[in-house]
């Protein structure tokens, strides 16, 4: 009896362990347009369910469940599979979606070639969408699919993606990226692809004309993106996909070349993992500072003190749902600022101490209220920010150095004056008789 219980417990704990959940929660709302069938995306949704997400489905015009209830986001993540939906229920408006992102909720937006509220929202995220009805077209490589169904090789080296992915089938619109540093491109269009409103080769003249005008008005080339992430300053993540077909079972099963399955399933899994804050999620566990040769943090420091600043960084591990020490950051910097950084130095990982980053430096010869600032912002990774305020005071009156070698001439001068005074006094008193006698003699003269 006991043995069975034990085995059951073991299975249960293993099942819990195998669940990979997001670092922010596992409730997931899928807003699915009625024109799309859930079954067409079963591989993607089943994959999410196996990861441990609790999926709730809702049509765009349904009133419940609301995405924000009483000012609190009802779900940790939202997927908007509504590429062609023009009208939504009252609670899904662009402002509400932006509000969701600022509440650290993650959203996947599937865009389409039609003009919808989402396409105008996308431009607020520095995405520049082509005119309505101009999908991505590529005639290369030669294949039996329509020109709008394009295999895109995953050449972008993002750490969020599994390495060695097969090309991904794509059908949808491309978009140009503004120069917003918060954008995280995942998949760019192939070099030979372009966006056009017709797949007929008879309409190619317009494109040739555009190309001859120096590319003006031409949507073409590998600088266009088709899958791009956006990480808000607060850490919420959004993903913009130009075509919902990317997630479909049909594309996941479709072979890129004979015998090679497409990378769609894994790619969709990877970008969803990034969006739902499973991968590339970091946090600062804490930071300490103390003087060299001491262990306790000082409540204030004196100018020119040598101090040690160390911080501990963890990375979320989605396979065990735990935060693990992470020493992989090599380009982190520490700033010691009072309005401006007075010192900016690299903060390297400590050998043999996982997750520990430490640096020793001399506090500048300047007193005031300073801050230790770690501000680490890299594309795709969680933004790390840590700020600790410490006062820096000048030395107390009895803490200044004394008897400096530079002052020896002055010391010698003062001492020699005193010695001279003593010798002078001795000579004066010793010579008293002779002098008085002489003075008397002088008087007599």
């Amino acid at each position: 009896m006991f043995r069975i219980w034990r085995v059951l417990l073991l299975i249960l704990s293993l099942a819990i362990l195998s669940y990979a959940r997001s670092s922010t929660g596992n409730s997931l709302l899928v807003v699915l347009d009625p024109s799309l069938s859930k079954d067409n995306y079963s591989i993607f949704f089943k994959g999410l369910e196996e990861q441990g997400y609790e999926l709730t489905f809702r049509a765009p015009k349904d009133v419940t469940p609301a995405i924000i209830q009483d000012g609190i986001a009802s779900f940790a993540h939202v997927i908007l599979f509504t590429p062609e939906t023009k009208t939504y229920a009252k609670d899904i408006v662009p402002q509400a979606l932006v509000d969701l992102l600022s509440k650290n909720t993650n959203v996947i937006f599937a865009l389409g070639s039609k003009q919808t509220p989402l396409t105008s929202l996308a431009s607020e995220f520095s995405l520049i969408l082509p005119p309505p009805g101009t999908p991505l077209i590529s005639h290369f490589p030669e294949r039996d699919t329509p020109a709008t169904v394009v295999p895109i090789p995953v050449s972008f080296p993002s750490p969020a993606l599994t390495s060695g992915l097969s090309p991904v089938w794509y059908s949808g619109i491309p978009f140009a990226l503004g120069n917003n540093p918060l954008l995280v491109p995942f998949l760019n269009a192939p070099s030979e692809s372009f966006a056009a409103d017709t797949t007929e080769d008879s309409g190619a003249d317009a494109i040739v004309d555009a190309a001859e005008r120096g590319g003006e008005g031409l949507w073409a080339g590998k600088d266009m993106s088709v899958v791009t992430g956006f990480q808000t300053i607060d850490g919420g993540r959004a993903l913009f996909v130009g075509g919902i077909e990317l997630f479909s079972d049909e594309f996941a099963k479709k072979e890129v070349t004979k015998g090679v399955k497409s990378g769609n399933a894994q790619f969709a899994r990877d970008v969803a993992a990034w969006t739902f804050q499973e991968s590339l999620v970091l946090r600062v566990d804490g930071s300490t500072h103390h003087k060299v040769n001491e262990t306790q943090p000082g409540d204030k420091y004196t100018t020119n003190d040598h101090v040690v600043y160390s911080t501990h960084i963890s990375k979320y591990n989605p396979t065990t749902c735990t935060w693990e020490p992470f020493s992989g950051l090599t380009d982190m910097q520490l700033e010691f600022t009072m309005l401006d950084p007075h010192i900016r130095t690299s903060l390297p990982p400590v050998q043999g101490k996982p997750g520990e980053y430490s640096v020793t430096f001399r506090i500048p010869d300047r007193h005031g209220v300073f801050k230790f600032v770690v501000d680490y912002k890299r594309k795709g990774w969680t933004h790390l920010h840590s700020s600790t305020t410490v006062p820096v005071v000048p030395p107390r009156h009895d803490e200044y150095p004394r008897f400096l070698s530079a002052a020896w001439p002055y010391y010698v001068g003062a001492i020699s004056t005193s010695a001279g005074f003593v010798i002078f006094s001795v000579l004066w008193l010793a010579g008293d008789d002779r002098g008085s006698r002489r003075r008397k003699g002088a008087k007599a003269e």
Partner: protein, 127 residues
């Protein structure tokens, strides 16, 4: 040395020929007529002046840090110089008429007391 001097003396008989003689006679007169006690005071004054000049040059040419040490060292030279100079005035037999009621002993006692107070402040300020 003597040759060029003689030639300048020949060409300009007015001032430059007189100078060496004037300095020499001044030195001779000082040696002969000054009492030895005043000579002692004078040598001390010269020493203080040279010491003060040396410290001042060190301050402006090399470093004035720490400034308090400079002030103490330089101030001790200047202060001692002033005290010694006033002692010289009071004990000079030629000034006997002006300091009738100040005996040389009294003058030295004032000088010694003033100097001790000065050195007390100097050493407090020096470190």
């Amino acid at each position: 040395m003597a040759g060029p001097k003689a030639s300048t003396a020949a060409s300009k008989p007015a001032s430059s020929a007189v100078d060496p003689n004037a300095i020499h006679s001044l030195w001779k007169a000082y040696n002969d007529t000054t009492p030895s006690r005043l000579k002692l005071i004078d040598s001390f004054l010269v020493f203080l002046m040279l010491s003060g000049i040396a410290q001042f040059l060190y301050c402006i040419l090399i470093t004035n840090f720490p400034f308090n040490a400079f002030l103490a060292g330089f101030g001790s030279c200047v202060g001692q110089f002033v005290l010694t100079a006033s002692l010289r005035t009071q004990v000079n037999p030629e000034n006997r008429g002006e300091f009738k009621d100040v005996s040389p002993e009294r003058a030295f006692a004032d000088f010694a007391l003033g100097s001790i107070v000065l050195h007390f402040f100097v050493f407090n300020f020096l470190g």
